[in-house]
Amino acid sequence: MAVEAKSLSTPIHGVDDEEAELREQLMFDPRPREELNRMVMESMVHTTPRYWAVVAFLAVVVLVCLFGAWGYMIATGIGLAGVRKPVYWGVFIVTFVFWIGISHAGTFVSAILRVFKAEFRRPFTRAAELMTTFGLAAGALYPLIHLGRVWVFYWMIPYPNARWLWPNFRSPLVWDFLAITTYLLSSTIYLYLPLIPDLAMARDRTKGWRHAVYKALALGWRGTEAEWARLRKAITIFAFAIIPVMFSVHTIVSWDFAVSQTPVWNSTIFGPYFIVGAILSGVSAVVTILVILRATLKHMDYFIRKEHLDALGKLLLVFSMAWAYFFFNDYLVSWYGGYEAVRKVLFFHSSGPDAWIWWSMIVFNVVIPWLTLWNRRIRRTPWVMLIITLLINVGMYFERYTIVPMTLAHQRFPFDWGTYVPRIEIIISIGTLALFILLYMLASRFIPMVPVWEVREGQEAHMIRQIGKARVPTVSELE
């Protein structure tokens, strides 16, 4: 069969309507590498006074709400938080799980979509990976913040004390420690590896301190065949290996709850349920961030397009359904089992004084996505997507709130029930939210937010082919 293929690298003349529509997609709207480089470099160095004002504000919030409040709490006692008997874990753990969930975005987008060659991933893998790293950084603070004696946190690290006593490797908290360490390290590396060619690009285009830093970080990258081959190999290893690590992290987080004897926590489905929830919240957060980046970062409207929101919106719908499936599965089985303590907890989830949290969770996680995301117009409208994804994340936060303090509050002895009212937790949680945004904002002016070489690679591999009478977008096997 004679097929006429045109590489999109060369501008096609005589564009008809069909092609114009195709050109709405980034991959079919190629620009020369030089120009892409320029756009990314500009986005990186371009700042406004408003940007700095926001950064300064966030820095103050981080200083006061996170470090100030935390320091005060270290000096006075964990009692400043609202935790109590029997709700020994509260918003700290809720926020911890939330951030760990957010951190699933990067790996999901970048590793799973990479493995499955989902081409729409290309422009925002880095944005998502950054979320992973910063989400983990924010989340990993919480096991420390929540400790009663944070100054001896290092006793959890696997090393023997003076009397050859090691940590307890049967404790899910040690697993947590290992898993989070593994995930934090590997996701940071996974962020870094594909960044090297872009750092080299930035190195070649900067002077002064930026040049020095990029030079150091680019590891002398020249782009030789060996370097590319190594990178490809490493990225492949990482892409395949980091997926189970990602699953393991949130599974272990779920085991913190599931291995205990607490009613409702003790559930075998918690692992996948948590993972699906994490991906739902992570992908939502990616959409949120993409919408914001698109609006605030220079030239981003070129890289991030409605097609991406559209694709992610579909993913969100799928994950919202998956979440609902797992949630219902967990709920039904627990409810049907009829164990009294479990039924009590479930009753209090949906009918207790804090039931509005549970109901909001259902509305935000299921009702709203299901009612909206099936619609292509909605999926392609950035501000609507911004609202929907923010709500999904609120819903996911509420899910964790339901699971942690609202479950602990009603255990087997009704005499010892206790309602939990968060106190300083809220301030510290705001502090880490600010920390996350601050880190992200700073990174956006320091790290090329778009993996130029990957976009370019994709654009080169995409072409429009004439098959019969139609022009069909295709992807070459080039990779």
Binding site: T76, G148, D416
Partner: protein, 240 residues
């Protein structure tokens, strides 16, 4: 360590038919074990440090209503759910006494053990409550019991300091520990003697005999935690 002979599986029986719910055990425990008070607001917000508490439930409707008392403390589980979840071995099983120990020095305050305790028997030092004891009231603090600082978990120890003292005394006198020689503060104070404490490995001890009573049950038996505290059903449900 296991090289010593297996005696002294300490256990307790609480006869709910005799328990009047008077809370003397609560006070006695606090006075023996240097448990700090927390004040009105914190105590009301579930931060009371009581190692033992008397759960009071109501049964029936007025006028045929009666309270049901159940003193609950750490049940010293044989298979304690709190123990394996601690990342730093701060709560461990004592092979000698077969009880559940809390090592304050090692505790880093993850509070996982308390979450995993189905009996909600653990108290956490949310603040430096014991530092708030004004001088000279701290004079009465028991020198044999650690004064806990903030950020660590604590719980009933079966008055392990008394167990040790009794064992050492018996050893020094070259004899076995006599039944009833070692009593924790709660059992010592209990005005109706509803709390019986002793060695479960000795079948003739008072506690062993009481634990074989037909009215016996353990709390949340279905969890398989193998508690060392046995309750005897109250309110006239007599069998043997």
């Amino acid at each position: 360590m296991a090289e010593e002979k297996q005696t002294g599986r300490w256990g307790m029986v609480i006869d709910l038919d005799v328990c009047t719910g008077c809370n003397a055990c609560v006070t006695a425990c606090a006075m023996e074990n240097n448990i700090p008070w927390t004040g009105e607001e914190d105590a009301g917000y579930g931060r009371g440090m009581h190692w033992i508490r008397v759960q009071r439930y109501w049964e029936g409707e007025y006028p045929d209503i009666s309270p049901h008392y159940q003193p609950v403390m750490c049940q010293q589980c044989g298979r304690a759910p709190c123990e394996p979840v601690c990342p730093v071995f701060a709560t461990v099983h004592s092979e000698e006494q077969q009880i559940n120990l809390q090592v304050y020095n090692r505790c880093i305050g993850t509070r996982y053990c308390a979450n995993n305790c189905p009996y909600i028997a653990r108290s956490f030092n949310w603040f430096d409550y014991s530092q708030q004891i004004p001088t000279p009231m701290n004079y009465y603090l028991n020198p044999n019991v650690t004064v806990r600082r903030r950020g660590v978990m604590e719980k009933c120890t079966f008055c392990v300091q008394r167990i040790y003292e009794g064992q050492e005394r018996a050893k020094a006198e070259g004899r076995a520990v006599r039944d009833g020689e070692i009593v924790p503060a709660c059992a010592q104070a209990c005005p109706t003697d509803a709390i019986i404490f002793g060695d479960l490995s000795d079948p003739d001890s008072r506690v062993s005999k009481a634990a074989r009573n037909q009215r016996r049950y353990t709390l949340l038996e279905e969890l398989g935690t193998e508690p060392k505290v046995t309750y005897l059903k109250g309110e006239g449900t007599y069998g043997g």
